[in-house]
């Protein structure tokens, strides 16, 4: 196979015209809702309702419905929190960091992954609020001036979490919205329905596609990308502090911040890859979200997966190297104790299976990459489970060791969180362009002005 490296390959296949792009991306928003969509939505809403029921019962009776117990104060609640925050990492990474690095292939997937970020962080944000014993007092976690002269504790990592996650959500949301403005304007211009027109008009903030607008827009987008970039790293770093700052063996580890960030990107990419495989098929976006793009994502999955694998190994090494027998036991217990099955699920899903992506055929095979992506997310969920539950279940005093078994309510809320996430996602794909119309147009072949005319 001969490849012409002098030419940059287009990230959009088939040289579609600008109008084609607008048409194909707006199509889902302009056609009637079909049966398949309803089926998907009803499944998702059913999961959401089940989760809401479990949560309602928890509010009614107390967190005692869950399996949490005395040594294991946190379990599914915080596992789900960290898992969903992790999922929320790919979006901003793709839209901000890859934007700064001028990776053109990101344009096809940026909008969608940003949306996923928003929804994942929304899902994640629920857990700290619901995991507490008295959720009606959640407001006390925020430093607001009050007549009780009460203030929050700034040395608590949980408080840092509150700031980290809310900042991340705010910035991601603004970034996403700013990117949407030109597309809203396009949709406004296309639609004939009065109702839609009003909404899109308001959402597009008076965008007139003027040169000046574009000029400002590009600048704002760049600044926001710069602003969001450190957040990608900081959020999961701070989430990892929830554990690293404690004195619990298995949590008190300095490798946690980079390890958590790598893991988050890893799981986020796997989730984006999974969902996009479906979206590109259903909406015929195969030429926009190309196989090349998916392959690039898979490469990132190998890289981050290997980083995570390195961290797993390093944790064991440091435990041994520290000479601290309690630390050593914690890790031996992870690999061979009561929860060994969870540990080995995690290792195989996160470290072993993604290595298959070294093989190009697998990297480009849609069914295999889909399965591997699912496995990565299973593995990453278990990673948080292993860290949180196994460390807590056997800490310092053997007398207080305990065992955690999840209840139906725990799994119900986990399932509900997927329902919550996918319900938002489904609403998103029917109300907003899931691919950035403006940005894709900028990267199709021939979009860039040239002094030499079209060479082909």
């Amino acid at each position: 196979m001969s490849v012409d490296y002098s030419q940059e390959l287009s990230v959009i296949e088939g040289r579609p015209s600008f109008a084609d792009i607008t048409n194909v991306i707006s199509k889902p928003l302009e056609t009637k809702i079909n049966r398949k969509y309803y089926i998907a939505l009803s499944i998702s809403v059913a999961l959401l309702i089940w989760g809401a029921f479990c949560l309602g019962m928890t509010f009614l009776y107390g967190t005692g419905l869950w399996g949490n117990n005395n040594p294991v104060g946190w379990a599914f609640d915080i596992v789900n929190f960290v898992f969903w925050v992790g999922i929320g990492h790919a979006g901003t990474l793709i839209s901000a960091i890859l934007f700064l690095f001028r990776q053109k292939w990101r344009t096809g997937i940026a909008r969608f992954s940003e949306g996923m970020t928003i929804f994942a962080v929304m899902t994640a944000g629920l857990f700290p609020l619901i995991h507490v014993g008295r959720p009606w007092l959640d407001a006390w976690l925020f430093p607001y001036p009050n007549q009780n002269s009460l203030w929050v504790n700034f040395t608590s990592p949980l408080l840092w979490d509150v700031f980290a996650v809310s900042t991340y959500f705010t910035v991601s949301f603004i970034f996403w919205y700013v990117g949407l403005i030109p597309d809203f304007a396009s949709l406004r211009d296309r639609t004939v329905k009065k109702f839609k027109k009003v909404i899109y008009s308001i959402a597009s903030l008076g965008w007139r596609h003027s040169n000046r607008h574009w000029h400002h827009y590009e600048m704002v987008y760049l600044i926001l990308a710069g602003f969001a970039t450190p957040l990608v790293l900081s959020v999961h770093t701070i989430v990892s502090f929830d554990f690293a700052v404690s004195i619990l063996p298995g949590w008190h580890t300095t490798i946690f911040p980079p390890y958590f960030v790598a893991g988050a990107v890893f799981s986020g990419f796997a989730m984006v890859q999974n969902v996009l495989i479906i979206v590109r098929k259903v909406f015929n976006y195969e030429h926009i979200i190309t196989l090349d793009t998916l392959e690039r994502m898979n490469k990132i999955i190998i890289v981050t997966g290997s980083m995570v694998g390195y961290a797993y190994g390093m944790e064991f090494f440091i435990a041994w190297y520290s000479g601290n027998p309690i630390e050593v036991y914690t890790f031996v217990n992870r690999a061979f104790g009561d929860y060994a099955w969870a540990y080995w699920t995690m290792v195989s899903c996160n470290v072993l299976f993604p290595q298959l992506f070294w093989i190009k055929k697998i990297r480009r095979s849609i069914p295999i990459m889909f399965v591997l992506g699912v496995l990565v997310n299973v593995g990453m969920w278990f990673e948080r489970f292993v860290i949180i539950v196994t460390s807590l279940s056997r800490d310092y005093l053997p007398s207080s060791w305990g065992f955690y078994t999840p209840t139906l309510w725990d799994t119900g809320i986990l399932i509900g969180s997927f329902g919550f996430f996918f319900t938002w996602l489904l609403i998103f794909i029917k109300t907003m362009p899931v691919v950035s119309i403006a940005e894709v147009k900028a990267v199709i072949t021939g979009a860039q002005p040239t002094h030499h005319g079209d060479e082909k």
Binding site: G64, G133, R134, N153, L397
Partner: protein
Amino acid sequence: MNSKEKNKRFWLSLDDLKNSLSFAKAKENEFAEGMTDNFNPEDMPSHSRRKFLALAGASAAFAATACTNYRDKGEIIPYNKKPDDLTIGTASYYASTCTGCSNGCGILIKTREGRPIKIDGNPDHPVNKGKICAAGQANILNLYDPERLKEPHSGANGKFKFDNWKNIDNKINVALNNASANNKEIAIITHSVLSPTQKKLFDDFKIKYPTTKIYSYELFDDRTRQSAWKQCYGESEFPVINWGDANVILSLESDILGKEGNFVEQIRLFAAKRNVDDAKNFNRLYVAEGGMSLTGMNSDHRLRIKPDAQFEFVMCLLNEILNVRKAGTISFGPLAKSKIEQYLLNEFAQKEKLSMSVLNSLVNDLISNKGKSIIYAGDILAEKVHVAVNLLNEVFGNNTLYNKERSSVKHLDLSANEEIEQLIGSMYSGNVGVVIHFDTNPVYHFAPDYGYSTALNKVPVVVTMCEHENETSLKSHFALPVHHNFESWGDFQTRTGLYSLQQPVIAPLYNTRQKESVLLHWLSGSVENYSEDGYHQYLMKNWEQYIYPQLSVASDFRTFWFAALNDGVVNYKSVVQGIGLFNYNKIENLIYSYWQPAYQHGKSNFTSPVISVVTAESDASKKSEFSESLGLVLMLTGNYTIGDGRFANNGWLQELPHPVSKVTWDNYAAISLNTSKQLNVKIGDNVDINANGKKMTIPVMIQPGMADNLVSIELGYGRKSAGTVGSNVGFDGIQFLSKKNSSAKLLKDFTLSKGSGKYKFASTQEHHAINEPEVMDYHKKRHIVQEGTVAAFIKNPDFFRESKPKAEDISIMNRVQYKGTKWAMAIDLNKCVGCGICVTACNVENNVPVVGKDQVMVGREMHWIRIDRYYSDSPVEPETSNQPILCMHCDDAPCENVCPVVATNHSPDGLNQMVYNRCVGTRYCSNNCPYKVRRFNFYNFRNHFEDGYYHKDSLSLMHNPEVTVRSRGVMEKCTFCVQRIMEARQEAIKNGVPLKGTDVKTACQEACPADAITFGDAHEKDSQIDYIRNHKLGYHVLEELNIKPNVTYIARLRNKATEVKS
């Protein structure tokens, strides 16, 4: 107005009218002299009048608006006429006597606003000296139990309806008169009679109704001990033992620190000889037992001997000392000697696989501590063992430890089995007219082969007096609710030289009557004019007439009586009856008669046969069945918490972990690891036991330290009608008792086989030590429990410090400097026996909820203090360690910095405090606590347990008003009894004296019978706590984390005999 009126002179006083000089002078000053000395406008508050009005207006407005949202919690009834001896907010204490078992300990009842809220031992009581067992502590819950019988009931066949006392009295009076007229027996069935006045009441009753017979029984009694004493010394009353003088104690299947005798007193006396500052005088405890008891856990050397081999063991010791070592002063006739000579200790050791070095050191210790050692046999052992033990004690001259002034007192003999059988016989033949259960539950307690329950059907009138509905009341015609301990009058004499009194501290909560009053009322013959005060008067009269004159007190009776009530006890110089002389001749013959001809040098029925397991594959029908021929023994013992089952409905006691296995809400069949392997069962697997024609499926607990081929089941569980809390908890082993041998609870005639199914225990500690040998000894490797030996300590008092890992005291933060008082605790692991009394005391003091079996099963018990139990060495013959763990109130508490809302923080006097109102319940503090002492309210536990059982109205009266009742979703933990600290501080401020560390006693400290807990101000120089914090054996758990815990532990020294190789 006329001029006269105009000039009318107004005068202030006669002085004024007279225009006296002094008045004129005084009038010059507006205020009297001295009045204005303290008046200085500069010092007055700077509020202007305007501001004052504004503030006053605002407060009125606030008050008005705030009160609109006032949640009306019902009527508050103030004292219209305040009782003289009551100040609201101040506790009153009343001395009384506990009736929870036959020990009759003195108690001090703390009442607040007229309701009892806490029980402690009466410090003036010479036996229990201010301490009381867990059941005594938790008895408060029985008083307020919502399921107490509140009204008299009548009915039949388990169907009851409310009735009134008058009706019932009428009917019973008729029945009693009929019975005595027709010469039918009136049977009163009571527990052991401890009260002289109650005895007199029975006698009076007998005079009025001559056909009356009194039967008394106990599920756990000491009849074998009594009969052995009768054999040896001629009297069945036995003396109290001066445990505190014993250098060497050999306990034979006797749980002297856990449940036998007055164990509260025994713990105190035992622990007093475990003072590390007097290490040379440590006592040494040898325990020879088959079951793993609390005493065995605390032994220095433990010998695993099945209860049926105890006699042989004692005889071997006797032979070793008399004939091998020639250390005895007495000699037997040739007949007995020839038999005794055949009991060879080394053969016995070989057969029972006992360590010869331990046995040698035991013999040496007994010989070198003649007159200063004691050998003590358990109640469960047969009479012959007791006789042999008495003989052995005589041989060593250990009778010096028998207290010459105090011995047991018997008001009424316990009924022999034959008497009960006779009663049942006459019940069947219709010769019994009335049966009165005097707060007893024989339907549950009697061995099933008596057929008591069916016999009751033949009795025309069955009356049961009880606090709760129970198995017996359901079989009765009348169920009469009786007063609780704290609502009753009474007197007790459990030992010579001592009376104790019982007085009510609260008016009866329900329409109940004191059981003695009921009898007294029937005695009067008339149903009218029941007087609540009747028994009180009767008691006083009895004292005035009979007891007071004997005591030769100087004061008049009234003064004496009130002083006695105030103290709760009356000590008097007892007329020493003396222990009779040991009847050697008789005992020599007895020993000869005990001789079992089959016994020949270790190849006989004494041999422990090897159990051969018939596996399921080889023979499905036999299915790994054991039988008597294999040497298996079933031992039915007492339990540690719920007495003979009468405390079954007490959630606090059901939830108190078993001191050895840490199982709550259950009993089980305990077997050894080896036996479990042969039977092929694991913890929680069901086994089937067949004995006396009864079959029971019960789960097994593999108990390290159990003798092989021994099954032990604790009695008192498995009640069928004990109430919401207590019914169907555990398994009823009483059904294996037989009328033939109901006092000897050792069975050989039974089969044991693996059953089907599995059972889940609610244990507060996982059973890693048995399941996972690789984590054994972690408590020692992690320096959680640190131990040494007395010998090593005496040789080098610094040995512990030298071996201890040193913590580095570095911090990147600025340390908080504690000035003034800083609270700290110390726990002496030498003294702590792990009885769990502190846990119950803490539960009562701090309103700790009962969570129920399902919640303990998932690890959510709420106890603020717990006793950790660790095994080390082999799971077959382990060494056990106890360690009470509570919040350590660390200086650099890891829980504090992680709480996002500062709900847990540090007080200036060094307390790690919890602000319940601020807590949102993130549980991060608990995760970060290395001791895992924080407890989370996963539910509103009072509401969660059995559909709000503990939310019932009567129980809210029980709560300590000084301690917040926590609701769902908040974290809680030990506060070092901050309410007591505050009380002491208020007191100190009121009296204008500085607060001293010793002013405060925490609930656990106050309750600890071993005095293992010290509490005080760590900054107070030369205080006890300061001394212990710097003790050579002092250490902190997890010191290396550098979180600076404030509970110091004194490392346990085991008094190992030097010649014993470990």
